[in-house]
């Protein structure tokens, strides 16, 4: 049995069914990300101003990733336009670029995540805070106490607030610091559990990265085995590319807001 309206538009909607479907799906996606954005606003306005992290993320890296995603958006729309112009080889080229750019985006994001998971804050017994990237970890936890030592590349501050607003409190030059286990009152890396900022940062960017991976898988299928349809039903295949493209542009659109909100403000 043939699925109706995969190519021809329905008379009542003026659209083929998949298009209505993807827009309804995107509407639900807007509400999903909207709920998380509204959570972000609530967390931010509820936080003490001096304790809301600023300057924690690498702006050049985030900018590069934004440019990667924008470039993938133009290759996606060009892939679709190539099919409309009956240029299948160009479609293959543009969508190969899209897939490579998607992997680049996820690769850069993974690098940023790794950086955060390797970044530690130590609350020391003398009331100071050591903060930096772990070089050597020879610490062992015995009950609530720590033994051994860790070597980090970072700096020591007297007020924890100095670790939060890095735009206001420019960090001192980093050096190699040996942190003795018995001196540690509390330690933790900058994972999602660190504070509300990292929690919402990992939730938002993690969900977005899952969308990038999901979109890349679909586009990868349509670029590879799914492209056989071009020979049998080119119009339907072109519509599939349009639908996957709409999802991809939505992913780009979400990042357009995530980037300034998380990296710059």
């Amino acid at each position: 049995m043939d699925i109706p309206y995969t190519v021809a538009p329905r008379q009542d909607t003026g659209l083929y069914n998949a298009k209505v479907g993807i827009w309804l799906f995107l509407a639900s996606e807007v509400m999903l990300f909207g709920a998380l954005f509204s959570s972000y606003i609530l967390l931010r306005v509820g936080a003490q101003e001096e304790m809301w992290p600023q300057g924690w993320l690498n702006v050049p890296v985030g900018t590069a990733n934004t440019l990667v995603l924008i470039t993938s958006s133009i290759t996606t729309v060009m892939a679709w336009a190539s099919l409309k112009m009956n240029q299948f080889n160009k479609f293959k080229f543009y969508h190969a670029c899209t897939i490579l750019l998607a992997f680049t985006f996820v690769g850069i994001k993974s690098y940023e995540y790794h950086d955060k998971f390797n970044h530690y804050e130590f609350t020391l017994a003398n009331g100071t805070f050591a903060d930096g990237h772990m070089h050597e970890n020879h610490l062992k936890q015995e009950g609530a106490a720590w033994t051994g030592y860790a070597i980090i590349e970072g700096h020591v501050v007297t007020e924890e607030a100095e670790l939060y607003n890095l735009k206001k409190h420019k960090p001192a030059a980093h050096s190699e610091i040996r942190v003795e286990g018995p001196q540690i009152k509390r330690m933790g890396n900058y994972g999602p559990w660190h504070n509300t900022y990292t929690a919402i940062y990992f939730t938002l960017t993690g969900l977005h990265a899952l969308h990038v991976i999901g979109g890349a898988l679909v586009i990868g299928f349509l670029w590879g085995p799914g492209s056989k349809m071009w020979k049998t039903d080119p119009e339907r295949f072109t519509n599939r590319i349009e639908i996957s493209g709409l999802f991809w542009h939505f992913v780009d659109l979400v990042w357009i807001f995530l980037f300034p909100v998380l990296y710059l403000l």
Binding site: L24, M31, A81, M85, G245, F250, P260, L264, L265
Partner: protein, 105 residues
């Protein structure tokens, strides 16, 4: 946009897509640059960044997603979505002034 068009017609579209692409690149650089300008009030920085982001979102949604020339039904879906999205944001804003009056322990 599922209508079939001639290659000539689409080459016109392609030029438009490229223009939008350059505008998005430019908008990104402007966003980064503006975030380093001390406007005196952080709220202004937030406003500027969000205005630029809205402009970029309009370009992506309008031209790459073809919302600028879509069917009524899509506009209907988007209007509903916008209504509930704005409602969601306002719920957050209203809750900011809604502090519990009972004693906390």
């Amino acid at each position: 946009m599922s209508d079939q068009h001639s290659p000539d017609h689409f080459s016109h579209h392609v030029r438009r897509y490229l223009f939008v692409f350059y505008a998005l690149l430019f908008g990104t650089l402007i966003t980064v640059g503006a975030s380093f300008i001390p406007f005196g009030n952080h709220a202004v920085n937030i406003g500027v960044a969000l205005v630029i982001a809205c402009g970029k979102a309009f370009l992506v949604a309008g031209y790459f997603m073809h919302l600028i020339s879509e069917r009524k039904m899509i506009y209907g879906i988007m209007a509903f979505t916008a209504f509930f999205f704005i409602g969601l944001m306002f719920l957050t804003i209203w809750s900011m002034k809604d502090f519990p009056t009972f004693a906390t322990h």
